[in-house]
Subunit: 401 residues, 2 copies
């Protein structure tokens, strides 16, 4: 199908300045901030301009409906939802999230332009707080409505300034007393398809613009407290020290070696040093470990190495088992898209959370020439973005024909 | 000489709550903060209660004079100054600094109580910003008045919140336009004696309560930027990464190994990770190195190892060559104090800065049973503190008889 990409390009330009750090070229779009409010307002305006009905669910996720989702539920043929999220990691790229939301809105334009009349309602979703950059828990919006994240736990989470999620929601005008599982919202989703920039070089290696997701590899987050003894950096003999920075160094290298051996990835991307003074041996270093791999046993073995090397027990902050997307659906989409390749991914997504909740879910990936994500270097060629819109339009039409 | 220690104990209790973190038992007394203002006010009150004349110099250091320091300068017999500082490192101990100031005031009480009439004025000094905890440069107060720290450079330093030293001084009511070398203040110092808690276990090993300082070992601070490539922690293969956390780990271990081999101490006590996200490979890790040793060549060799291992050039933030205190004076004080042992130290002090500026300077150390400093575990037994007051009183009497 030939699609006029003007709408896509215009939307892409409209949100480009929001949360941009001109110094780094990266984005800071964190949940329930001013930048987030701007993006939510932009999404509401885009929905309204297309005649879509905007619904905010109990967690704050935004849903823009073409057609009546509740009538469809009553008729036993719930809608097809496409979309992603608009928030970012600290200094993140422009594509992770927004590409899926903007592409979904462009699909609505394309289908409407050619007079297509869907037999089921089509929703565009914009999930809140997918990255967890502010409160530390990824996919908070989708986890809350599916009950995978307890509302009380979530609302008590604090950001780096000590602000709780409940306070942040209230400040942004969201009714915190309603936060929690949202069966009504979930009942409207017959199928969810999330388009996303690829976060590796799979499509580059294959020479293809678009892929269909097969599985999300199991992954988890841990933190480990390395205790030492604060002391003066100038007067304490090396043999009298208990310096947790040395423990950190050995632990980081051990985690890397274990991950290499076991075919996993392990990352220590966040560190807290106390008191973090130039002339003070630290009293404590806290390190966060992100580990993912082909199977649970391999990932757990990496964490076990960290425990042994550091002499401290890693505290699990999150664990996501392998997520297998709806396999017949993935095969059907791949066939529809000129036998698009099927790729596994190490990244978590709202689509994975919904799949875990038992919903029929699929993902499309768009080629990323750098393979880099969560960084200003994250990229997708405009041509490949347009191929993504075409693929998502074809999929949406197929599922609502 | 028998001294009534009530005054010492009362002063010690009076300042104990200021800047105390009840959670850790540590202190946060940073230059030009509310806590600092409270301590300065307390010092001014203590001076006034003893009939001492308070002078604030161009950098903000406080001097409380018994006798007319300028008449003494005119007569060619400038005064004897005793004292130290009241500020702390983050989560620092109670003794590093305050022990010297409180002991000095107790000495005034003791000498006055026994009707001693000094032949030269006696000053009590309380230096501002010795630890450099807020703006990163240690001994800022003494370095400013001796011209070892440029006033413009100092005033432009920023704290973690982006506040400049000039702004902090202004907010605290200090006239920033006068900050700079202060020859008048220096001219009043015939001899300076700083009493300080020991920051190692030298006196514990020797079984003695008080020592005299011989030298301050050469020491410096550097920072080194380890650049990497920000990327997604879940989707980037280990072999495709440029992860600066691994470079940090290897560099920390190399610095420790080199310091061990060369008889130095090397500490990486402060780290900055960008963006410091759990699921992002860092784009950059900045590490601060504090290195000290028996001689400049050894310390420089440690820094050279850091440069080679990290592949990045360490940027020198400060360098202090070996400081030798006034040797005849040190011998005289040691003899006076029952042949007190002479100890070298790896820590910088305002006394060292004044010695570097050519003033006659000495230090007394008081036993620290833990050997720990810059930590809530820093300690000195009350009895040893009292021995310190007696020693400082004997020294002050000897020098002003």
């Amino acid at each position: 199908m030939t699609i006029d990409m003007t709408a896509f390009d215009d939307m892409w330009s409209a949100i480009a300045p929001i949360g941009l750090d001109p110094g780094t070229g990266g984005y800071r779009r964190f949940a329930w901030t001013r930048e987030d409010a701007e993006l939510r307002e932009w999404f509401a305006g885009a929905a309204s301009a297309r005649g879509l009905d905007l619904v905010i669910d109990r967690a704050g996720n935004q849903w823009a409906w073409w057609g009546d989702p509740d009538a469809a539920v009553a008729a036993g043929r719930p809608g097809v939802v496409i979309g992603s999220h608009l928030d970012s990691v600290p200094d993140g790229g422009a594509f992770d999230g927004p590409l899926g939301v903007v592409s979904a809105l462009a699909v609505i334009d394309a289908l409407k332009a050619r007079g297509f009349e869907p037999t089921r309602p089509i929703g565009v979703a914009s999930f809140i707080d997918e990255e967890g950059a502010r409160f530390g828990i990824a996919c908070a919006g989708s986890r809350l409505i599916t009950g995978q994240l307890d509302a009380g736990t979530a609302k008590a989470l604090r950001d780096a300034d000590g602000v709780t999620m409940a306070e942040a929601m209230t400040a942004a005008g969201h009714a915190v007393e309603h936060v929690g599982p949202d069966a009504e919202t979930l009942s409207r989703i017959g199928t969810f398809v999330e388009l996303h920039v690829e976060q590796g070089r799979g499509l580059v290696d294959l020479g293809r613009p678009v892929a269909v997701a097969s599985v999300i590899r199991p992954h988890g987050r841990w933190h480990v407290d390395l205790d030492g003894e604060a002391n003066h950096a100038g007067t304490t003999r090396l043999e009298d020290r208990r310096d947790p920075m040395l423990n950190l160094a050995r632990t980081v290298l051990a985690a890397n070696a274990a991950a290499t051996e076991l075919g996993c990835v392990a990352t220590v991307g966040k560190i807290r040093v106390e008191p973090n003074g130039v002339n003070a041996i630290p009293s404590r270093v806290t390190a966060w470990l992100d580990a993912r791999g082909p199977g649970e046993a391999a990932v757990r073995a990496v964490v076990e190495v960290v425990a042994r090397q550091s002499g401290s027990v890693p505290v699990q902050e999150s664990w996501t088992p392998e997520t297998v997307f709806d396999e017949p659906l993935a095969q059907r989409l791949s066939a529809l898209l000129d036998d698009a390749p099927m790729l596994a991914t190490g990244a978590g997504h709202d689509a994975g959370v919904l799949a875990t909740a038992g919903l029929s879910t699929a993902m499309l990936f768009v080629r990323n020439p750098t393979g880099i994500s969560h960084s200003p270097a994250e990229f997708a060629e405009p041509d490949d973005c347009h191929r993504g819109v075409e693929a998502l339009a074809a999929v949406t039409e197929e599922l609502t024909r």
